[in-house]
Amino acid sequence: MNFFRAQEQARSLSVQLIVLFIGAVFFLAFATTSLVIFLGPYLRLPIDMPSMTEILRGDVSMSMKWKWPSLIFFSLTLLISLASAIKYWALSVAGTQGIAEGMGGRLISFDQELLPPEKVLRNIVEEMAISASIPVPLIFILDEEPGINSAAIGLSIDDSAIVVTLGFLKGYSRSEAQAVIAHEVSHILNGDMRLNLNMVAILHGILFFTHTGKKLLKPMRSNLPIRKNPFVPLPLVVIGIILFTLGSVGHFLGRLIKASISRQREFLADATAVQLTRNPLALSTALTKLLTWETTKLLTRSSIDFSHSFIGAAQTVPTFSWLASHPSLKLRIEAINPGWLKRNFPPKILKTIMREPLTTMLAIWGHDDRLSFLTTTLSSGSSALAHQDTQNSTYNASNMAEEAPITPQTPHGHLLVTQTFPKTLRPENAHSFFEGDQESGKKDSLAQNRSISRLIAETSHRAQNFLTALPPDLYSKFYESQEVERVLLALIMSIYPGVNRLNQKTINDAGIFQNTDEFLVMCAKFSCLEIPSLTHIISLALPAFRQFTHTKKYSFLRLIYQIFTSDRHLELFEWTCYIYLRKGLGFPLSLDYESPPPTFLSEHREKIAGSMYIIALFLATLSTYPLDSLPLVLDLKPPFDLNQIKKEIKMEDLTYATLQIGKLPKKSITKFLNHCLFISRFNEEFSDNEYDILNALCVSWGFNLRQLGEDPPLDLKTAA
């Protein structure tokens, strides 16, 4: 887009509309005056007015002719101005910070310690302020709003604020956030809030007409006929009707003009935003994410009151109307990037997104890439949707049904294993679990030089820090038996890039949350944070579970299991989490199905060795330990070809191996655990996931990881 020309166009249009607006006010006063003058003689108004015929005949002097009309006209204009001024004063007295705090915003100040996403937000706002050459506006975060939305408030460039929701921090990538912040900064730069306030005030002035008319007509409500009602003089009724009708018409027209000005200002702000960032693509993708109102909706009353200043729809499905304050997003995207929307979002996909807003939203949370949220939507949400469609309706969408991977009955299905941790949770292990590069043999690592007890302490310290950094109300929930279920569930769900429809249904059916919104708010709170060791957090929450009945514990466990397996992939972190929780709640170790011994473990003697190798294999891959050196550590001959096996290994095998090793004498297990520790510490760090796995293993064998804190014997170190 040529943003300079677009800005010029939008500006000149706005000017025309403002002239129209003021013209409308004068016209209104004029129309009322002339009506009163015309009807004056018939109403026998108590004013000394020459009649029309007299004026036409030229019997009266100039001053007589214009005395009353001008008096009425100017007093009407004065009244409108006065009413507008009062409204203006009332609206502007609140002050920027007061308004933002009234919305429920939390000020991000410049000196306090900030979370990483908040820091990025602050940086972005500073960048955009520099780009627009304005002072940095105040920044507020609405902590209770999981939707993606933002607003600019404040009446002058020097006293302005930008308000963003919590969902904004999570749902937008850096460049998208930058584009939207640029849009808000443009509103500040162009003085749109002041313009809007002016228009609201003038509208209020016109509304004053309507109100006066209504007041005059009030006595008419009684049942007596007008002529016989002694309290209603006829002239007043007629004037009342005139004021009411013209006021209503004027107000309606005023609203139309106001809406149309405000739409022009949106286009102007978009154009200015592109000028500030020189990145039209980011603004396009950012606006695409606002297409469904579920993703942008506001939940708290205090912020809904200001819904007109938010970029995304706050409450209802945005349909175009002449009274809409924002142009349709499609039009805006089209203006920014002609043809882009159609190229990237064919109508069919767009329809799916619009139909499946919740999935879209949750998918957006998990993905920072430009368009990847779309693919997620299509692969998880909409295919589930398509599947349901085919169940519900006649079987016609055959192509859609083929890609539907989710069937409601998962627990007995064959569980595929993906050996990855979710990216959002485990950044350091993004390379696929068994495809990690094995060559990176950096022997002189940091972790090797520290004692294991120290490393464990550091991990739990991280987890503790995570908890204490939470808002106190959220933190305390981990210790309350009424709340612990919800908070743990939200924490676990926030790890996923998107919650598919099936999980949403499972959670709803479980009745743990009163409504979806509550769940979304809690999820959003967690999804902004980098989550440390899960087992540690679970262990903190366990005491609160003690008051649960056996059945309640079991049903919670079932729910977690259902969620973990709903995609038919049990991932390593899910396995860890589940095993740990299961043991912690006092259930014996097993996944909820009979796990047959892996085919490559046949003989009895080999079973133990094989089990050890299976566990060691997982740990070695996590810590990039060379597989060829495993026999040296374990001091056993591998019963199978390790490189061959690692392609076939499944989570059931891990459970089986854990069960097998649990049968060994305590001393052997301790020795094996020490070997495991050694393998885990091979690479430069002892990560949270390594801690989690070891923790889960220890718990299922009845050990405490912290008490294991002795370093392995020296000969093992040399062995590697």
């Binding site: 960048e127 520099i130 500030l276 990176s440």
Partner: protein, 197 residues
């Protein structure tokens, strides 16, 4: 009657010329102010660099030459920036500054590329913080430069339009110089990777 008309007309014309002159002065101040913002951000980057180098030193013993190049480019840029800030409309100083900045950006880019190759380094929270700071500073510099260039453009357009060009010539308003990177290889942005995964 006639003389009074002439007087009124003269006054009107003088007022008009004054307003034109004032507009030019205002625009010139805008772009000079925009330059001061670049200046602030460049200095911020100069302050960040020793911090970054200090942190990276422990890890990058074999990359001494890269680190030294960064330090050297930084000190050259610092002095060029000081000279340019005194007179943003001077073509000579601006060219010198863009040159020095280009060098600094190049060497910084190389350092960051080297750092990418050391996984130990990327795990260091302190390094991540510094890199984040560096990234936002890079952005701020480029946005400040963009704001400066936009202001320069507006000033130049104003200066060249009739009848303001007459005033501009009369009062010697020089054409403002864009802040551009002269060498194509210097145009490459510094790569700051925030991929933690």
């Amino acid at each position: 009657m006639n003389s009074s008309v002439i007087i009124v007309l003269t006054i009107a014309i003088i007022l008009f010329w004054i307003s034109l002159y004032n507009r030019l002065v205002k625009m010139r101040n805008y772009y000079e102010n925009a330059f001061s913002q670049i200046d602030v951000q460049l200095k911020r980057r100069y302050d960040l660099i020793p911090n970054l180098v200090e942190t990276a030193k422990g890890y990058l013993e074999h990359e001494k030459s890269t680190l030294e190049a960064v330090i050297k480019a930084r000190s050259a840029a610092v002095s060029a920036c000081g000279a340019a800030a005194k007179d943003p409309s001077s073509t000579h100083e601006m060219t010198k500054l863009t040159e020095a900045e280009g060098f600094l950006q190049q060497s910084l880019g190389k350092l960051l590329a080297v750092m990418e190759a050391y996984p130990d380094l990327k795990g260091d929270q302190h390094i991540l913080d510094v890199m984040e700071e560096l990234r936002t500073t890079e952005n701020k510099i480029s946005f400040a430069r963009q704001a400066f260039n936009d202001a320069v453009m507006r000033f130049n357009v104003l200066r060249e339009t009739f009848p303001i060009n007459l005033v501009a010539v009369l009062f010697r308003f020089r054409q403002a110089i864009y802040f551009e990177l002269s060498n194509p290889s210097e145009r490459e942005a510094v790569k700051v990777s925030f991929k933690r995964d």
